[in-house]
Symmetry: C2
Subunit: 155 residues, 2 copies
DNA sequence: TTCCCAATGTTAGTGACTAACATTGGGAAC
DNA sequence: GTTCCCAATGTTAGTCACTAACATTGGGAA
């Protein structure tokens, strides 16, 4: 922490006023609302899990594929460090909550909404980690594969 | 820690030689192999997620429903403490790995196997947490609801 | 010019966890 | 029965992320 704060040119205290934890530095997710919003506009005729998956697919289409391998290398560090994986789950909790909230607002039973949201985020996170460990797979393909697995359409 | 170790009648050092972390005390899961084994014997004709779900359903049928509300109260503490939720994910990682491994052994693509395993564990964990927050739902019903949501058969 | 307040700094902690070394007790080898 | 061993436990003195309670400063509004 002393080194990080020094490198940032601030005191340790100041650092902690911006990031709750040292690990929090790595997780900056501004996509929560976009994902939840995209889920909300999917047809209510779908069951919760498929609706959530469709929402994520729609949200993902709006995000540019990352260039270079900075992202991949960063995710790789997270994927291979148990405590960081835990932090990642924590970082996803807010997205999960928002997605579940939207589903519940449309009349989905809370347990099913939360299960669908949790499964969605877990699936995407697993795809992200798996993607980071390889060199040639595209992130978009990995995510599409994960969504297909959730939906049961790919095999 | 001083209090916990004293209550256990050992020194802090001795405590840490038995449990890697203080939080680790709460997670003792001996079900890993049972779940992975149950997944393995499900029909290979099913897609990975459904197969995993069917396996967990079969494994669950072998476990007696917990009596009293000791378990519920304990899970409630975990569910409402972010850092403990993270530890729970960490505790599930081994089960997840074993389930994915069995699927891969049967020819499922690694990414899909890991996604299915992650989604399964996340769904069950979400159901467990939701169950802990209510007083009248049965754990078996909550889990069945979660599995149905994964499979897309309940709605 | 004065006042304010928000951001930043300083100091002195707390608490989980670790490394290095000392102690002990009971079972195996003789 | 004695000796030896070694595995489990204890002791001490740390490290490191993080926090609480203050002090300081600087720039913008009144």
């Amino acid at each position: 922490m002393a080194e990080i704060a020094a490198a940032a040119g601030v005191s340790e205290m100041t650092f902690f006023r911006h990031f709750a934890t040292k690990h929090g530095l790595l997780f900056d997710d501004p996509y929560d609302d976009a994902i939840a919003g995209a889920v909300a506009v999917q047809p209510q005729g779908l069951d919760p899990l498929r609706r959530a998956a469709a929402g994520l697919r729609a949200a993902w289409a709006q995000v540019p594929e990352p260039e270079g391998d900075v992202v991949r290398r960063r995710v790789r560090v997270v994927a291979s460090t148990p405590s960081l994986r835990g932090e990642m789950v924590r970082a996803n909790a807010e997205t999960e909550r928002l997605v579940a909230e939207r589903l519940i607002a449309d009349g989905v039973k809370p347990l099913r909404a939360k299960v669908a949201a949790a499964a969605l985020l877990a699936a995407v996170t697993a795809a992200l980690f798996e993607w980071s460990l390889s060199d040639d797979v595209g992130l978009g393909d990995a995510i599409e594969d994960a969504l297909g697995t959730l939906e049961g359409t790919h095999g």
